[in-house]
């Protein structure tokens, strides 16, 4: 090895410390900054302005927090939509994640033809495309017939109270949708279970643990990171859902002349703040849990 090669090796070693990492990140980072970060920042700036389209571009008038105030005080649709959708979300996320966990646990068992079933459960993911989904929605095939048939609504209202009856009913009505929405989550769980070594199961079985014990002591703790991943994924998926009424309302306002893009941006940021709080709670809960585990091991 001559001096030149040695020097190169040395450089490479130092480069690997952080240069290479950043280099690998670079293409993504550039794209991310220019098409996600800057637009999002721009819309924050716009939310404090009254934006009007004039000849040769946009005209900005700084109006402070007026857009945000209007959203709650003047707009008679937005707060209601936001709260209803939020309630619905709080019900749907746990249902979807638990359903996915249950199904993937079953799919992890040994039985003939399980590959076929794994494929089948992931299949609904491809319906999530707007076109197909809205077609199905207008045809109302996503609803379960027995809800109307047995007149469940008063029953539900009696048990959970009037103000929660509406979200509960719509969750029930979209039961099929929930099944369809758990495709990616099931896949993440199934892949997550593969990371648990079979030798651990063998060891605890030899030590006399029942399948029930090994689920609670091994499978579940090892799945915690995947559960939090799935909860986050579900929240995000539902919040950016194309047929979501809140987003529809924001988009409607975007092209209205009297309210304009500034107001629509303010609405989007309020919406964003709500999701942010929810996700921060989830991350906080699971982050602490994971830290505890890491400290123990």
């Amino acid at each position: 090895m001559d001096a030149k090669q040695k020097k190169r090796a040395e450089l490479r070693y130092h480069g690997s410390r952080y240069g290479t990492g950043l280099l690998f990140m670079l293409p993504w980072l550039i794209g991310f900054c220019s098409f996600v970060l800057v637009p999002v920042g721009w819309s924050l700036f716009m939310s404090f302005n009254k934006v009007q389209v004039s000849v040769g571009g946009f005209k900005y008038d700084y109006i402070g927090l007026e857009n945000f105030r209007d959203a709650f005080l003047k707009d008679n649709e937005f707060p209601v939509q936001l709260i209803t959708y939020f309630q619905q979300m709080l019900l749907m996320v746990p249902i979807i994640v638990l359903f996915a966990l249950f199904i993937s646990l079953m799919l992890n068992q040994r039985f003939p033809g399980r590959f076929l079933y794994r494929a089948l459960f992931f299949l609904p993911v491809i319906f999530a495309t707007g076109q197909v989904l809205s077609e199905l929605f207008t045809q109302e095939v996503g609803e379960i017939p027995f809800i109307d048939q047995y007149n469940l609504e008063p029953l539900v209202a009696e048990y959970v109270g009037q103000q929660f009856a509406e979200p509960v009913m719509s969750v029930l009505g979209n039961a099929v949708l929930i099944l369809w929405y758990s495709g990616v989550q099931i896949l993440i769980f199934v892949a997550g279970f593969q990371t648990i070594s079979p030798t651990i199961y063998e060891a605890v079985r030899i030590d006399g643990a029942t399948p029930w014990d090994s689920f609670w002591k091994i499978t579940l703790p090892a799945t915690v990171p995947f559960i939090s991943l799935n909860i986050l994924y579900t929240i995000i998926d539902l919040f950016t859902f194309p047929l979501n009424p809140v987003i529809a309302h924001i988009r409607e306002n975007m092209f209205k002349v009297d309210t304009g893009y500034g107001y629509a941006s303010a609405l989007a940021w309020i919406y964003f703040a709500f999701i942010f709080v929810l996700i921060a709670i989830v991350l906080g809960l699971f982050g602490r849990n994971m830290k505890k585990r890491r400290a123990r091991s």
Binding site: S34, P39, F121, L229, I247
Partner: protein
């Protein structure tokens, strides 16, 4: 013991078959819907199965398309090209980013990670106008870059990949490094193959977004020849929403938009399952 196990298997298979049948109802619906003649399309309550299948819906759709100024095949070509390039680009760019985020230490890493989580929450619809300003500022209106670039830096893909990449044992990478592998070799020979299940997942998700995306066509493309199939189908549907003849075309177009998704899914799904079986990790 043995008999009870197989009884359990039997119950499992039965319940899964029932659930799976339930899940596949919408596919059945879409496929059948496309072949329904006019009188069956308007039946109430809607029927799942078609009684007298006909190809009339597709005929109508292609007749309508051939009357337009831009041929149907042009939209198709645009869509296929954009989808293929976007798929390749997203996979490369996000695996690289996820590899760096999962396995390297560098400045601002924590900051970038939290940025990704934050940006996931922002629905792309809400940043349409700033994006338009950037695209036209870069002079990318009416180019394929305008379709591609906004989709390339996908936070969702990186978010899903980081989890998988960080599961790759450090010992494996160290062993490769000791054997003289460069960063690029480690990336292409170890990281990519080992994260194949996640890559397959994001491929399916990316294809779906690109294929169904009408935002880039509506906002960044002013020339009709640069727009994609999804945009064409969407404008066709919204133009014909209330007419009776439109329902035929809508049903046929729904199937046409759905089929590529199904095909991509079937291709990559096989890969996902294969890699899960043979995955040598742990």
């Amino acid at each position: 013991m043995r008999r009870r196990w197989s009884w359990f298997q039997f119950a499992l298979v039965t319940s899964f078959t029932a659930l799976a049948a339930f899940m596949s109802l919408p596919i059945l619906f879409i496929v059948n819907h496309a072949f329904k003649p006019q009188n069956e399309l308007f039946l109430f309550p809607p029927q799942f199965l078609v009684q007298n299948p006909t190809l009339r819906n597709f005929e109508l759709l292609f007749l309508h398309a051939s009357n337009a100024t831009v041929p149907f095949t042009r939209y198709l070509f645009n869509s296929v090209l954009v989808a293929a390039l976007a798929l390749a680009g997203v996979i490369l760019v996000s695996t690289m980013a996820a590899y760096a985020l999962g396995k390297y230490r560098f400045h601002f890493k924590g900051f970038i990670l939290s940025l990704i989580t934050l940006s996931l929450m922002f629905a792309p619809e809400t940043v349409g106008i700033p994006r338009y300003l950037i695209i036209s500022g870069l002079g990318m209106n009416d180019t394929y870059f305008g379709h591609l670039l906004p989709l390339l830096a996908s936070p969702v893909a990186v978010f899903l990949l980081i989890g998988f990449v960080s599961q790759i044992p450090d010992e494996l990478l160290e062993a490769a490094k000791i054997d003289g592998a460069s960063h690029l070799t480690i990336f292409s020979r170890i990281v990519i193959p080992l994260s194949a299940p996640a890559i397959a997942t994001i491929s399916i998700l990316t294809f779906q977004t690109v294929w169904g995306d009408i935002e880039t066509s509506t906002l960044f493309m002013q020339e009709e020849t640069m727009r994609t199939l999804a945009f064409y189908v969407n404008s066709l549907l919204s133009g014909l929403q209330n007419s009776v003849a439109g329902q035929n075309m809508a049903a046929a177009a729904g199937l046409l938009m759905f089929l590529p998704n199904l095909i991509i899914f079937l291709i990559f799904q096989k890969r996902v399952l294969e890699t899960m079986v043979h995955s040598g990790i742990k």
